[in-house]
């Protein structure tokens, strides 16, 4: 009823190529951004439930945002360029440990401690370089075999950060703590500030990724994904397209890893970035929708929030079930939901969303 495009004529290619060509989408997005940037902090400041609890911001929204960012990175590689990688956790770890090293200074290279923002971005850059190196096999091997090769990255960096004490500044416990977060003189410490920081990063990177994906580079990635031989015959160099996807993807994942360590965890050890993390990101991207930025958010929300919701549900409706049973139920329901979704809609939530929008254009009329 309200979601009609009738009467919205586009008179220029720029208008047709806009990120949200439909007016209602633009308004909805603006409202969402306004709520996220201004509404949530205000509600938290005036202690309006549910935003008065630190728990919601610190333990639910913050990890959701950062993992969405990582999922965007994974989606660039797997969804847009079709190169299946199981090393995302490793690239997060590279981002985190490099940012830590840059932030605490590297005397061996005469590097003074760098500011937080520079450290995080340089962490992304390091992950990007590692991504390119581990992306080189993709020129020869494809599909499952490539994913096994990226698995090597995962195990190698797990080992490296655990065994080479230099990365942890010789911390006896092997775990390191993030230094104080400060950006241009502003200190980020409270949950609301951390939330705003993560939100800013996510918005900027999501916009950048979307722009790349719908530009020339993104089309080259998708061409390689859909039919690499035809892509080569129209002049796309597989080397450049694949490695640029690895570089961009790993950069985003590296930044997400640095944020995960600095902003969410605070102190961490290599276990935080093990193979489980890689698989979690892979599932997010598959369930959310391969080759869509929106899917990264939806997938992250599903994987992260549903277990929490499921564990809260029995108590909320007044059922008395033991915590052990709840945990088992959670696994059962979660697993079956994933199976159900992938059978009913293999293209994930983003596709469901799109179908819903198309249906909504006509609703409530039959045609």
């Amino acid at each position: 009823m309200f979601y009609r495009e009738a009467g919205q004529f586009k008179t220029s290619y720029a208008a047709d190529m806009a990120i949200f060509p439909i007016r209602q989408d633009r308004i909805a997005m603006l409202l969402l951004l306004a709520f996220a940037f201004a509404g949530v902090p205000l509600l938290a400041a005036f202690h309006v439930p549910p935003f008065n609890s630190e728990y919601l911001l610190r333990a639910i929204i913050l990890p959701f945002l950062i993992l969405s960012l990582a999922a965007i990175g994974v989606n660039v590689l797997i969804g847009y360029c079709g190169q299946v990688s199981l090393g995302s956790g490793a690239f997060m770890a590279i981002g985190a440990y490099s940012a830590y090293k840059f932030n605490t200074g590297i005397p061996g290279l005469w590097l003074p401690p760098l500011p937080t923002l520079a450290s995080i971005l340089l962490g992304g850059l390091m992950a990007s370089i590692a991504g390119i190196v581990f992306g080189i096999p993709s020129l020869r091997i494809k599909g499952l075999y490539l994913s096994v090769a990226t698995l090597a990255a995962q195990f190698f960096f797990d080992w490296l950060f655990l065994r080479v004490k230099w990365f942890t500044n010789y911390a006896p416990s092997g775990s390191v703590s993030a230094p104080e977060l400060s950006f241009f003189g502003l200190t980020v410490a409270s949950p609301v500030e951390k939330y705003l920081l993560a939100l800013t990063f996510v918005c900027v990177f999501a916009l950048g990724a979307k722009n790349l994906a719908r530009g020339n580079l993104g089309r080259q990635w998708m061409a390689i994904r859909d039919m690499d031989i035809a892509a080569e015959l129209i002049g796309i160099r597989p080397l450049a397209a694949k490695l640029s996807a690895f570089a961009v993807s790993s950069f985003i994942i590296g930044v997400a890893g640095a944020l995960w360590a600095f902003v969410y965890l605070g102190s961490w050890e290599p276990l935080a970035f093990n193979i489980d993390r890689s698989l979690q990101l892979l599932f997010m991207v598959i369930i959310g929708g391969l080759g869509t930025i929106l899917g990264s958010f939806l997938g992250a929300a599903f994987i992260l929030l549903l277990p929490i919701a499921l564990s809260q549900l029995p108590a909320a409706v007044g059922l008395k079930i033991s915590t052990a049973t709840i945990t088992h139920l959670e696994f059962i329901i979660f697993g079956s939901l994933i199976c159900f979704l992938l059978i009913k809609e293999p293209l994930g939530f983003a596709r469901l969303w799109q179908i819903g929008k198309e249906k909504l254009r006509l609703w409530p009329f039959p045609y």
Binding site: Q220, M222, M227, I229, L233, I234, G235, R237
Partner: protein, 263 residues
């Protein structure tokens, strides 16, 4: 339909003594012919005659063991496919090779990939020069879409399109490259009469309006004889005839190759 060109134009591409084999199987042996600037050159022959292998040699997908390929005055033994694309050779495939997950428009826009020069940072911002470039190429692609009469499927993922339209989109993608030489591998396979007429019209328009040189493989003899300027006939990897359609039609070797020889 087509009149023979009065003065023989210079050769855009010439193939000399091309031989290609896969292990013990000789796909092409000692074939030479040329493609003149501005003509429609048909390559015909029974199944397995080596026609597609020939196209694959031309655009660098196969590397012939022997022979030389001269394109635009540059002679080389073999080249990489993306080098051929840069040189101005575009092609379509026997089995449609589109990017199935992308829309018609995006598929055609990939044909412009080589001509889009803005760096990653501009693309990241999608503003200023990058946006202007994107719009300029969009305009070019829209003209192709108009020409091929596929406006209505502009934003449909090509995987969902019927075969005839996919063939048309594939031609659009090749045209977006503004090629000097367009290789068409069975552009009319599996089409009905009307679709064939449309496709013939597009091919002739491209050839006459833009002056694009075209080499095509086709099994529909009516179409081949109608639209091509010169025809080369292959059989078992060897050239058995080469000339204007009328000559080829009357050639006894060609008739034997197609109809078989009574023993």
């Amino acid at each position: 339909m087509s009149e023979p060109k009065s003065a023989p134009a210079e050769a855009l591409l010439s193939l000399e003594n091309i031989s290609l084999s896969f292990g013990g199987l000789k796909a092409v042996s000692d074939v030479s012919f040329d493609i003149r600037k501005g003509e429609i050159r048909a390559i015909i022959g029974p199944n397995g005659a080596g026609k597609t292998s020939m196209l694959n040699c031309i655009n660098g997908f196969y590397h012939p063991q022997q022979g030389r390929i001269t394109f635009k005055g540059r002679t080389r033994k073999s080249m990489r496919p993306h080098e051929a694309a840069r040189g101005g050779i575009a092609r379509t495939f026997q089995n449609v090779a589109l990017f199935k997950g992308m829309t018609t428009l995006d598929n055609i826009m990939t044909g412009r990939a080589l001509r889009m020069k803005r760096g990653v940072l501009w693309q990241l911002l999608r503003a200023g020069p990058a946006l202007r470039e994107e719009i300029e190429h969009r305009r070019f692609c829209e003209e192709i879409i108009d020409f091929l009469e596929i406006e209505h499927i502009r934003k449909t993922p090509v995987g969902k399109l019927p075969y005839g339209l996919q063939k048309r989109v594939e031609l659009g993608r090749a045209l977006a490259m503004e090629p000097d030489l367009l290789l068409l591998d069975e552009p009319m396979a599996g089409m009905n009469l009307e679709e064939k007429q449309d496709m013939s019209r597009f091919i002739l328009d491209v050839n006459r309006r833009d002056g694009t040189t075209i080499a095509l493989i086709e099994h529909d003899m009516g179409v081949v004889m109608d639209i091509s300027d010169r025809v080369v006939v292959l059989e078992y990897g060897r050239k058995i005839a080469d000339g204007v359609p009328a000559d080829v039609q009357g050639n006894q070797k060609v008739i034997d190759a197609y109809l078989g020889v009574p023993r």
